[in-house]
Amino acid sequence: MLTLVARRVIRLGVVLAGVSLVTFAILHVSGDPVALMMPEAPEADRASLRQSMGFNDPLAVQFARFVTNLARGDFGQSFFHREPALPLVLERMPVTLLLTVLAMGLSLTVAIPIGILSAIRRNSLLDHAATFVVFLGTSMPVFWTGIMLILLFAVRLRLLPVSGWETTAALVLPAVTLASASMPLLLRIVRSSMLEVINLDYVRTARAKGVSEWLVICHHALVNAALPLVTVAGLQFGLLLGGAVITETVFAVPGVGRLIVGAIRQLDFPIVQAGVFLLALIVVLVNFAVDMLYIYLNPQIRVR
């Protein structure tokens, strides 16, 4: 089991190295940030700024510098904000994480019970309704869902604020919007993996022993059905962080996603690098945690 953990840790490092290489490379082929920073300045001024910012060095040298600084947690100064990039990203991280965790919690809260129910009552009205919702949810793009929810709950019904992050009520619509992106898949996973285990021998045995139906479902069936759910939920977490970028823009939420989108427009390398790197770090860590949880949940893996 230790080697398994060690292997996962090594993979974590490789992924992070890849992420930093990719973020570094993509940005350096996409335009001239100096021209954006000083649109009206004479070429001579631009050239000297380019020189002083190290854009004239070979790419390999720039990358080596990037990685060395990275190790020190230094992503450089944001060109646009003229402040160190990392704190600017960290400052917004709690908002994005809260939004993502809320959305994840919300989708699990809906997906697990409904998924179980539609597995037990297969082909019932509820099952069909759930399938319909799954279809609807997967086919609606997040930004559209968001705007529709605003129109219904904020403009028409006046129940919730349109946008912002100042009140607790303001969290509801962005969280629901984001949850709508991940909930359908989770629901489908819960339903299908429950269906798989629910007719297995050990479940029947449990029932035959006279264990209450409630306990059979929640203890015997669900724990086994949870394995694929945990895996998918971990992967979905990354998807949700990505979706947060759009949700934050629609609902004017002051998170990392919005910061990154703005920075891409301005070719603000340090912000994009710091932001993407940190988000990737979180995704990788969450998946690492999922792997660990998986090992814990699944005795077969643990023993091997």
Binding site: S30, G31, D32, A35, L36, M37, M38, E40, A41, P42, E43, A44, L49, S78, F80, H81, R82, E83, E91, R92, I147, I150, L151, A154, V155, R158, L159, L160, P161, V162, S163, G164, W165, E166, T167, T168, A169, A170, L171, V172, T249, V250, F251, A252, P254, G255, R258, L259, G262, I264, R265, L267
Partner: protein, 507 residues
Amino acid sequence: MKRWALVAAVLSALGVAALPRPGHAQGKDTLVVALVAHAPTLDPHMHFERVGILVNVNMFDSLLHRNTKLEFEPSLATSWKAVSDTQWEFKIRKGVRFHNGDVMTAEDVKYSFDRVLDPKKKSPQYGNIRAIKDVRVVDPETVVITTDKPFPLLLERLTFFCIVPKKHVESVGDQAFGTTAAVGTGPWKFVEWKRDQLIRLEAFDQHWRGKPPFRQLIFRAIPEVATQVAEIKTGGVDIIRNVSADLVPELKTNPQTYVSSTPILRVHSVELDMRVAPFDKKAVRQAANYAIDKQTVVQKLMASLGRPVATTVQPQAFGYDPEVKAYPYDPKKAKELLTQAGYASGVDVTLHSAAVEFRPVFEAICQMLTEVGIRATPKMWDPGPAWNKFFQGEGKAANGIYFTWGNYSVFDADAVLHPLYHTETGGWIGKWYTRVDGLDRPIDEARSTLDQGKRKRIYSQIQQTIREEAPSIFLWTQYDTLALSKRVEYAARPDEWLWLFDAKPKR
């Protein structure tokens, strides 16, 4: 037991969610403005972003102010005069206080200029005032500004050049001044800035003009237009900017909102690549100009929020010559010219645009060109890195680009002629696309004299030349359109500023 705790938690969460919203547009004395973003700093010297200027002008004063009729008015300078071709004397208003209580003096004025002119500070506004060679304090109420050569745009530049408190900035440092300790002399003082959320200002009781009608002023950052519209309909914000033509009818008829619009200094054109066929021929460029039915486009696609123009110099700018007339819509003449140029059977071109909100307009233009034989393929770009790369990479083999120019809100012909048609390094379009020979000299000449009559004559000549040479398809000026909550009385300004001292609560 556990289950009950869970139920209680869910219920209380719902309870919190269902609480009456404290809301944004609260009391009568609060005014909430939606901006698409916040500038990177509150320091009025360390950015050159429209969204930042709109916030800064309500917190800081400049030497001069521009009223809604675009005339100069005294602000921190009570009077000014040119002492010589290169020297201007300004009398500074007495007894003006900064938000921290300090009295504003000529020293602060000098400090503000020196700060931007200091190359080490890398101010993005350096280019605006780099003609200034020296700022001298004669006495506590008099400042003399010396320019390296005659600089007719000086007064224009001084309408947005904020005066900052020397002592305060030096003691808190540039960083804090731009984020947590902004201090000016303007009608509102800084309270808090939650980045990407809101900037909160509060009326400054000792402001020299008197108290502003609204006590609280909030600038929220809301990037998505649909969200801004939903906010103004529900009273979450009071003012939204840049309302596009398709939203105007809806916001006009909504019982909570009204619309205010005015022509601004943004001119639209299709810049033609004069280096390659077919637009290397003057006849083809003129044909393109005759091919566009400007009036119809403005009426049908822009909700009449635009005005056709003859060249890129606009009616509101100094130096505009009304005698230079716009190309009429004349498809027959266009076909004739095209035949003359040797394209009797037409010619294929590709035009590019990143002006997303004017996509229908751009496509209509391409269609109209196609109808006379200039078969134009529209190519839309996402504004951002790719477009910038294309645009600044000398736009290889592009026949033309849809282009809008905002004159940096400077009401002078120079603000469009120099950047677009002068070949000096740094001139964007003139350097690559629209190269009308022989314009450098008159542009420089008009730039370096204070004789307004002479400048007018030169500009008139230039407008005739560029109309004749037709380096672009000249189109129209744009209007700025605000949507406002009916509880606020305010009108859009030609310089796109939000000078909210003029905003009043409606009874």
